[in-house]
Amino acid sequence: MFDLWDKIQQSLHLKSQRHFTGGIVHARQYKITAHQPIITCPVPDVLIHPIKQHIGEPCEPLVKVGDRVLRGQMIAKAQGYLSVPVHASTSGTVFKIEDHTIPHPSGMGLPSIFIKADGLDEVDESLHPLPNYRSVDAVELRERIRNAGIAGLGGAVFPTFIKLVHDHHNPVETVILNGIECEPWLTNDHQLMVEKAHEIISGMDIVLHLVEAKQGIIAIEDNTLDAVEVMQKALVDMGLTELIRVQVLPTKYPQGGEKQLIQAITGKEVPAGRLPLHVGVVSFNVGTSKAIYDAVCLGEALTERIITVSGDIVEKPANMVVRLGTSMRFLLSECGVADFDNLKIIHGGPMMGELMSSIDVPVVKASNGILAMQRQTIMQAHHEEEPCIRCGDCGDVCPAALIPNLLAKHCKEDQFERAEDYQLFDCIECGACSYVCPSHIPLVHYFRYGKGQVAQIQREKTFAEESRMRSDKRDARLAQELAEKEEKRRIAQEKKEARAKALAEQEAKKAAEEVDAPKTIENKPEETS
């Protein structure tokens, strides 16, 4: 195996000299679904579509209860800029629109559109295929990718169309296709690369055309060498070897993190709080690339995705094509899970995934894996927190070069300002520090708590600022009203006084006239004379 690896490296000059700071190496044995062909999950009777499946603003439902919808029909439209629409995953009838639990650690719900499938699976033909995408206007292509509802399928679900901009001030030099599956257990991206290499590369070509980049790099880790071979072959077949190359990276977690991958490939670090575009890079997941190909060349909206279903209670772990909106209970029963009382599910991978409070949550665009574990396994994995012994292991593995033990201490003591000074918000929550901690300190949990509290304090501050402004304006208005009243009273008073004065004057005049009257009479004869 090692000989083969060395041979490939030598022949292709693929060996990467660069790497990102920190990181850990997982045992390969957990990838039990590796090399298992992708199978198709049947369409369930009921599909549940939450109105927000991406990062950004929620969508607005376009359908009413009783409407018939087709597969790929837009059922909720994007609102605002940072938003992508939601589509029906099969044909059927909308039978209710109400709150339903979504895959989120809070266990809270969002308004969701429930569709009763009619089994016909009729496809909506409103998006025309654009196979000659090179002759299509970039604006139209972007709009197409947005209208197909595509958001990053690696798990972050950032609306993809926002990344695909050609900006003359900030040109994109490199497009990186993220074929790194660094989470243990998950194998969906690997299998997708093996089976759909042509589609993925076509999707990447569309992106290269859109952002007018000079080179494309497909990043693959050295534990999935079969994907490297397939990709190389597909590139040769399609005649794109000049434009796109494959780069093999040594396996390390969390290499699939956007900033880590960019550092490993280009050697450039994305500054804190900036987008990869700042260093001239756009990166996206292989699943997203396939979705872009489907949307542009086939005219299909995003209605399904590939998921790894695995875990120690799953009898038939598999890589599956699943319609968005499929209930996880249905999916697990398809994979041979019978005992639903004795399991916990993790949405995502074991390192960054979140424990779900319910198994009746739907599959969404962010679902890259579902791990169903026996309750017992989860309980055994839980250790009681011990004191920090300052071994420094967490700092060694942190891919963001933070000091996790200090950060956790500050978060624990509610000293969030200090935590922010130690760059709490640079933490990508990869979980490497918690994984290596010999004292079993739930470091990432503390960081999530800290981040939430900082956001809460910030919200309260903004609200207080608004309230103060409103209160000040009210005070000013009341003062003005009072002043106006005072002014009116003063004017009235003045008028009254003036009237009184005039009256007094008149009376005085009258009195004077009365006094003067005899005089005039006396004078009269003089005038006449």
Binding site: P442, G452, S471
Partner: protein, 198 residues
């Protein structure tokens, strides 16, 4: 005569600096009390009057003038009290009254008679309506101060819990035994220090 030089030099220096300071205090004069403004910035601006002062600003003025205690702000809670103690350079004190969960006012519009009394009472102008028309509350701006409850002649205003939003949800503190022990120790410690100063 040598001893006169330093005296003259320092006298002149004192004169120049004195004039400079006098001019500075005149031309760079700051309106209002900067300390009170800083304290006002820390307060939650609910304008609820639970501290016994008619609003956040008057309370900040009173604290800045050492007339009021630092622990009277109910909605601000412990965090605000600690921040005030930090700025005023005094020992923290225990909060006398626990803050309730955040609430917003809600008008049962069917019962509203349109008397405009609540509109006049609202310190942040977040009630809209006109005489003889029913009123309603702009929930986004309501601070939950409850000042509108008292003047309402038909008692048609309810205080309801602020709806929890998904995007405002945040992770709770880890539930490990150690985290809980730390929390307990912290509250215990605060209790002891609080009793000492009350």
């Amino acid at each position: 005569m040598d001893f006169l030089f330093p005296i003259i030099i320092f006298s002149l220096l004192a004169l120049v600096i004195g004039v400079g300071l006098a001019l500075a205090s005149r031309y760079f004069h700051v309106e209002g009390d900067p300390l009170a403004d800083t304290l006002d910035n820390l307060l939650p601006q609910t304008q609820c009057g639970q501290c016994g002062y008619p609003g956040c600003k008057p309370y900040a003025n009173a604290v800045a003038a050492h007339e009021a205690d630092i622990n009277h702000c109910v909605p601000g809670g412990e965090r605000t009290m600690l921040a005030i103690a930090d700025i005023m350079g005094v020992e923290p004190k225990t909060i006398e009254q626990e803050a309730t969960a955040p609430v917003v006012a809600y008008i049962r519009e069917d019962e509203c008679i349109g008397c405009t009394l609540c509109i006049k009472a609202c310190p942040v102008d977040c009630i809209i309506g006109a005489p003889k028309q029913f009123h309603t509350i702009i929930t986004d701006h309501c601070t939950g101060c409850t000042l509108c409850l008292e003047p309402c002649p038909v008692d048609c205003i309810d205080m309801i819990a602020t709806p929890e939003l998904l995007e405002h949800w945040s992770w709770p503190v880890p539930g490990t035994k150690r985290a809980l022990t730390g929390e307990q120790r912290k509250t215990q410690h605060e209790g002891v220090s609080g009793e000492k100063h009350v």
